[in-house]
Symmetry: C2
């Protein structure tokens, strides 16, 4: 993949300006006040979005790449100068800006939970500060979509799920990131051809109602299409009437069979999908076309898919669009990026509902005797959990500005997620009820917190 | 603005692949079947999203530009060949692809309604087909955000609204489009520096809690910041305690006043914003700092803003993030792109809830005697409304592949929206209740529909 192509909207040249203005004014003030000491910020999610019991990490590859190439072009600095806001000293500083920090992160495809540091940035304060907006924008969204897609994949119970969302995603970059994030979370592919090209994700497509309508009759449109794509035809059978459409597809499927060809499938995009798919399945089976696959689509989400399966609907593939691509029931992930340590030592906020765990930390996943996830433990940096079987969630990805992490291939990331999903306790896979996974604060970290609290209160 | 920078993710080179795969298989089939006759497609919204009474057009500039430069690079075609799906003839066709169609559209910033054709594409069928996904992706999202932002602006009743959403938007391209679309809908600016640079939108910023926390005391952080930005300081006063923060801001504001400087403002980001802002306002006024502006932020949306104002909260500026940037209560606009005319004549679907108005059409906005919007009328192409004061909503933007439209500057687009908003009936501006605006089908268009219906039924 061409790394130059990795970023949204403006390519990467001026991407360092995709930042809230206050990052620059604060940074300027730090520079003038000689306050550019080393500081550590945690990116973490405070609360699960509604209905969710776990989160899926996604977006890290973009973040590591960005931190590696982040520069302020002359063009960018010229614009900043026109604001008549920032000091000449700061603009000169930006000219030579390089990210020199050290970064730990939870790898893509790993399941994680609120309050666990997902990305930990230790760098001179200014560097750590000015990357905030990009990191949040990138991680929040991709993690949001991977989390939503995981729910859809769980609901499909082994049936295939394909991303059909490009027309409803929030712009072109979103369409790319949805394809990638949903693939990580177990989808088998996407309708988005560009995502196929750039990420190597399998692409899927059928036909639209306008194709069927462009012929005088439905069966004529089917015949035309299978003549052109004898090996790859998925016929859309609901333009006029699904049962009539299934009959036409059977006629065409038998015509193909006589030529030694196999109709690949049909798609139903409207109506009572459970009932219609069950009926269509029987029709195809009775006609000796048991190999014809049924794809369902049309405003699907994890709840509707579960309902279709519960009602005995017969689907091999679900095409899922708007609900997955926008995470419609919870379209934002409230990730935050908080100072946890600086020259004044470990820092924390005690505001109600907004507690921040202080200092550099480690996170461990503890496995039960059955090998499945038992709980996670957050410790101070260098701490160890009090258990036998565990693995650390945070991986060092950058050291002193150098990328020391070779991002796994996308299929490997996807495998990691699928392996995670197997080891996740079953109750957390219930899409209708939120269940709580245990995330423990270690005794030693608790003492550190106690110390800070008593110092503040004194 | 550099047009090369206009598109998301991959720049524009391979943007023609940001398309659902089926557009290509259908197009290939049309080419092989010699079915590339002229066809007309309407892009329109079937239903208003929940809670909305009107829509705001946005995204057209991107669309016109894309149709002008849309090409299939060798790189794109090479990838398509690897799919082993499309014919050599079709791949050769793509090599020389140019969009040669004619396009009418509702200009950006114009208020519009469901079932009104917002973009009308007439082109050889293949060309009209393969642009579908990009057009929907681009128009749906930007129109969605402009529509949401308009509600926030209405709720603010003349107070300023600033886009604070980049960290929660759906990727980098989304952050750019949110800044632009919300500015069209009356926001005064954005925190997104890159949007400031690329679109010339005013940028706004204050400071973060981490800045305040990075000093030993709040007042020290305030003093440092105003020393660095004496003309542009908006102090964040809720890191520890808002009232204490306001007292510290007053001390610093008075110190500034003695030097002939004016503290610009304070921001409150948490707590009971109505009560706290009212109290802070009084404190500043009593201290002779009546010019200090109060900015409120923290999970705001149109409903919360309205409530704050109703309760007598005192705000000059609202910073609005997640809810506006993701259109959280309705995060997708269900725009569709439907065949309405081809060599077989005007086409329409009669499916329940999915009716398509047939043929090429015109849309007119009828003004009442008070000059305000009275109703819209949809006619067949060339039709005229039966009224005195009206203007056409659709403007010809491309003719035979040539762009014949000089897109108005962004401030002009914003002015158009604000002018529209003045002329919109008051009940449609009620953010708590959905009201219906009259969109009429002309008698002549009704007869055409009747004719088609009786032909189909016969």
């Amino acid at each position: 993949m061409n790394k130059k192509l990795q970023f949204g909207w403006v390519g990467e040249d001026n991407m360092a300006l995709l930042t809230d203005l206050y990052e620059f004014t604060m940074a300027d003030s730090y520079l003038r006040g000689k306050r550019n000491e080393e500081a550590t910020f945690d990116l973490f999610i405070r609360h699960l979005p509604e209905n969710r019991s776990f989160l899926v990490s996604a977006g890290l590859e973009d973040i590591v790449h960005f931190l590696g190439i982040m520069r302020f072009t002359d063009d960018s600095i010229h614009y900043l100068r026109t604001l008549n806001l920032l000091s000449d000293g700061f603009l000169s500083y930006l000219k030579n800006f390089r990210f020199t920090g050290t970064v730990y992160a939870i790898p893509e495809g790993e399941i994680y939970f609120p309050n666990e540091p997902a990305i930990v940035v230790t760098a001179p304060r200014i560097e750590a500060q000015v990357v905030e907006t990009f990191l949040l924008n990138t991680f929040n969204f991709q993690s949001l979509i991977a989390t939503k897609a995981a729910r859809v994949v769980i609901a499909a119970e082994g049936r295939q799920v394909v991303d059909f969302s490009p027309r409803r995603d929030h712009g072109t970059d979103a369409a790319m990131k949805v394809a990638r994030s949903s693939y990580i979370a177990g989808c088998v592919g996407t309708s988005n051809v560009l995502a196929g090209k750039e990420f190597g994700i399998p692409v899927y497509g059928t036909m639209a109602h306008s194709y069927v309508m462009s012929y005088k009759s439905e069966i004529e449109s089917f015949r035309e299409f299978v003549r052109d794509f004898p090996e790859n035809s998925v016929l859309l059978i609901d333009t006029y009437d699904v049962i009539e459409g299934a009959r036409n597809a059977i006629i065409v499927g038998k015509e193909m069979a006589r030529k030694g060809q196999k109709l690949r499938g049909v798609r139903i995009d409207s109506g009572d999908l459970a009932r219609l798919s069950k009926r269509a399945r029987r029709m195809f089976d009775d006609a000796g076309l048991g190999y014809v696959r049924i794809m369902l689509s049309g405003d699907l989400n994890e709840y509707r898919i579960k309902e279709i399966i519960r009602k005995g609907g017969s689907a091999d593939v679900f095409g899922v669009g708007t609900d997955m691509g926008t995470s419609r029931d919870a379209p934002a992930l409230g990730g935050v990026y908080k100072l946890v340590e600086d020259n004044l030592g470990p820092r924390m906020k005690f505001s109600k509902g907004k507690v921040t765990l202080p200092g550099k930390k480690s996170v461990f996943r503890i496995l039960g005797e059955d090998g499945r996830f038992r709980k996670d433990v957050i410790t101070e940096e260098g701490g160890k959990p009090n258990s036998k079987d565990y693995y650390p969630l945070l991986v060092k990805v950058m050291e002193n500005g150098n990328i020391i992490y070779d991002p796994p291939s996308l299929p490997k990331v996807r495998d990691r997620f699928l392996e995670n999903l197997k080891l996740l306790p079953d109750d957390l896979k219930n899409i209708d009820e939120v269940h709580k996974y245990k995330v423990e604060i270690s005794h030693s970290l608790k003492s550190i917190i106690k110390g800070i609290r008593s110092k503040i209160m004194s």
